[in-house]
Symmetry: none
Subunit: 432 residues, 2 copies
Amino acid sequence: MSGGWTRGFLETYLRIPSVSAQGTGIREAVQLLLGTFRGVGCDARVLETAGNPVVLAAKKTPGAKKTLLVYNHYDVQPPEPLSEWLSPPFDPTERDGRLFARGTADNKANLATRIAAVRALGDRLPVNVTFIVEGEEEVGSPSLPAFVRDHAALLAADACLWESGGKDERGAPEITCGVKGILHAEAVARGPARDLHSSAGVAVPSPAWNLVHALAGLRAPDGTVTLPGFYDRVRRPDDADRAALRAIPLDEERRRAAWGISDFLGGLTGEALKEALVFKPTININGLAGGYQGKGSKTVLPKSASVKFDVRLVPDQDPDDILAKLLAWFAPYAIDVIDAHGYPPARTPVDDPVVRAAADAAREVYRREPLVQPLTPTSGPMYLLRRLMPCVSFGAGHFGSNIHAPNESIFLADLDPAEAHVALFLQKLAAL
Amino acid sequence: MSGGWTRGFLETYLRIPSVSAQGTGIREAVQLLLGTFRGVGCDARVLETAGNPVVLAAKKTPGAKKTLLVYNHYDVQPPEPLSEWLSPPFDPTERDGRLFARGTADNKANLATRIAAVRALGDRLPVNVTFIVEGEEEVGSPSLPAFVRDHAALLAADACLWESGGKDERGAPEITCGVKGILHAEAVARGPARDLHSSAGVAVPSPAWNLVHALAGLRAPDGTVTLPGFYDRVRRPDDADRAALRAIPLDEERRRAAWGISDFLGGLTGEALKEALVFKPTININGLAGGYQGKGSKTVLPKSASVKFDVRLVPDQDPDDILAKLLAWFAPYAIDVIDAHGYPPARTPVDDPVVRAAADAAREVYRREPLVQPLTPTSGPMYLLRRLMPCVSFGAGHFGSNIHAPNESIFLADLDPAEAHVALFLQKLAAL
């Protein structure tokens, strides 16, 4: 195993604040990856896009019949709120066997273990491997559709190893077969030409109130989405999906404790709760803003108010269709929808041979039954590659990794098994 | 008339940056007032409070049967944003017949003309006059309730001349009979122990959604407040109020242009619009906050969300009663209400003899029909004195005075008529 090499590369990689939403650290991350891929014997290059560049690296194996495409992203979520980090987000810090930094679990450690597996296998690499590492995943991968279209030949493969993964709450390795889709957007309510004294509020239409009313009509208090037509294209779980759902362990008390809540939304429990987590779409409020937010009070009627939100989509919902429905919903409230972007959901069947290869490898490496997840609640541009090949995902994270939150971490002891899992998956893929 | 004296005192008074919110200029203002009151023959003293001191000054007239209490405040709003002032806020500057400085209209010129009237009348003062000048009006008058309670005997009077006033948009003098009350507060929705990845949103109760639903139930899209019991204590306008309403001029097109809106809330127009402005309470959103507000998108389920709001109250609504109803409303949504403070509304009937005396005096001095305003949309601690005596308000400001805003001003030509109005009001009060 490559423990020392992996940790050394990973800490260097984590020190680069490659936050796509804030435009920092992009070139530094690209340069590090380029050098690293070349150092492990890959043919690597940087391909420019309309946005952040893509790093492409390939290692051919003479006589290999199969090719694996490995998808990762070098960008990470913004680290805010900074005050909640126990150590600086871009200064990787070990505490209690964990390595804390923004991007550890999502998804710098996964790339590190995958490169480490290729490096360790050296001339014994059983398949051709192509790495695609993009830099805009955390802002919706706007350049990736054109990139995949324009470089289809370079990306041709028999299977795709997707970016994310880790252990479930019991410590069992997860094998993920798909991702929910997502639509991000911001809704901005327009009002008077400037902020007014709130004494006018009895007679002036308020964008903040309009926003409240428009939002309240989108989702019921129990979480059911009430946007007309929202559920029209939702595919119901089939028998294989139901079996996979039943196999998913869910310690509800532990989950509530982990999330810091006393009850699930709308009183969900049992299989209905599992089904919601895996197969249900929803609309989330990410942020509310508008008017006075300082100390004390200020009698202002703000000229605008806004909400950032995301819509979690399941097969066969389509983000363009949902966006059209949202635009129609918001228009009568004098609310504009801006900055909409996202991806459709994507799935590979739970009984696909590539999924089985990943699960078999996990069973051997971890010596326990893996958890096969039909869909993860998180999203990604998997649909672009799923159109071309089966996709499966696993990695070095864990249930308490705090992805997208302060104090993101992995367990250092998970690095070596994650690398071994990749290596064995390559063997099994070669034998398919 | 006292033009020279008034302007001299006023400019000296305006040079003192007596900003209660920032703790500046308090003692200087108190000393200036003490010397000025003594210089015009008043028995003046400084009374300490838990906050800024109160200046109390009295001039007795042998044989007078009536006493007028004059309420003003020596503190002013903060001058920020400084960059928008055309001349320094505490360097009174004449331009185009106006005197610009923070506090001119609110309410240093009014006190100047009132002292000037007492000075000019000298031994011919027809009533006893007591001045109460506090230093915390712009921060909610926290010490005034105890002061009024503890010094009731010193404040005993037949009527109160309130601090504010001026001319309406047509140039007619306004006689104001009351103020709306206000309740400021912040509602904070509690949720998971920390910000979560929004993929959990399908199963985790969201404070942002809870806030949206709680708020949506408080006010209908047309502006009607739907908080149970909100209107219970609202006194309906009587015939005299209706007559006063009809006399209020309102150029709707001009008002819409001034506010930068295309329609009034809920399609209000005509007398219903006037009634809303004068006699209707409402709930305003001053600010919304929670979750991610930065650039781009962030898939977070925020652990809390909050709203700052103000409730505009009319007679006989009570802020404590409304607060209790709000607490009961918000509680089931896991929402706390914090930082609640404000004042009840207060009014004197439009046909009260004291109001008539003020209107009659205005008619004679300005040679045009005054506008009698039953209630102003702005608020103040009038209720403390209205419990003891009728209150009426008029002064030297104008429609474009920019109270609480940059480039606050009065017209210099308004000082002498304002002083004459005070003097004639004293005569009419003596004759009641």
